[in-house]
Symmetry: C2
Subunit: 117 residues, 2 copies
DNA sequence: ATCTTATTCAACTAAACGGTTGACAAAGAA
DNA sequence: TTCTTTGTCAACCGTTTAGTTGAATAAGAT
């Protein structure tokens, strides 16, 4: 259990190789060897990347003889989507509204004691 | 211009302090000093965090005398939301469909030359 | 039993990261 | 002009991260 699940997910997806792995796992489950093939990296490096995705809850793994196929889990995406959607909404709503103008005003202006007489 | 804009955004949001700053900027624009106040961190540390958010395109800054208020930008959220939505959809669609079963089958099974006879 | 395949573990390295302190610059206020 | 506020820059430090090589484990295949 992480103290910061959302942080772990964002952190996992910050790496382009890992994002690409996710993209490929969205098409089909794959073993470590299969996943490693297209990259110019060692199997061990991919194994590590996979573990990061697994710890973040983005990927689950089963067993098939020596192989340990990885499977993309949809659930965690909701956590992120919710967070993003929330702040995007707030940012957009605030975009052309009154409070934007108010924020730009000084304390004096807000209290009505302007310099006009 | 970053080589990996999406990575920069995910990376920026991987830090809990930065996520919290975003949450607060969603409520109202704020200066570096205002932002720093609730945390047990130096102004310089917050200034750095703000720069990371700015570089990722999550925040823009204006000028007001000595102050440099930060403002949350909604646009970049779309980039993330799009990425996430895409793979979440694919992962969900694949969840209980035929191809999940097919992937679990060996080459032999797929080619029809099973061990019967 | 031995060999091969698939994967992980352990130890190491270079670079990036989050934080600090201290000095500096820019712009108002006295 | 000098003082104060607001913010950044530079150098440094300890920890984490992404990668490597090499050894170990687990499970089939011969």
């Amino acid at each position: 259990m992480s103290a910061d699940p959302l942080g772990e997910v964002f952190s996992a997806l910050a790496d382009p190789t890992r994002r690409d792995m996710v993209a490929r796992l969205a098409v089909a489950d794959a073993t470590v060897n299969e996943l490693a093939e297209p990259y110019d990296l060692t199997i061990q490096a991919i194994s590590k990347h996979l573990r990061v995705l697994e710890d973040a809850g983005l990927v689950s793994r089963t067993r098939d003889a020596q192989r340990r196929p990885a499977h993309l889990e949809a659930e965690v995406f909701d956590l992120m989507a919710k967070w993003i959607e929330r702040y995007r909404r707030e940012a957009e709503e605030r975009y052309s509204r009154l409070d934007v103008v108010l924020e730009g005003m000084s304390e004096d202006e807000l209290e009505g004691n302007g310099e006009e007489r």
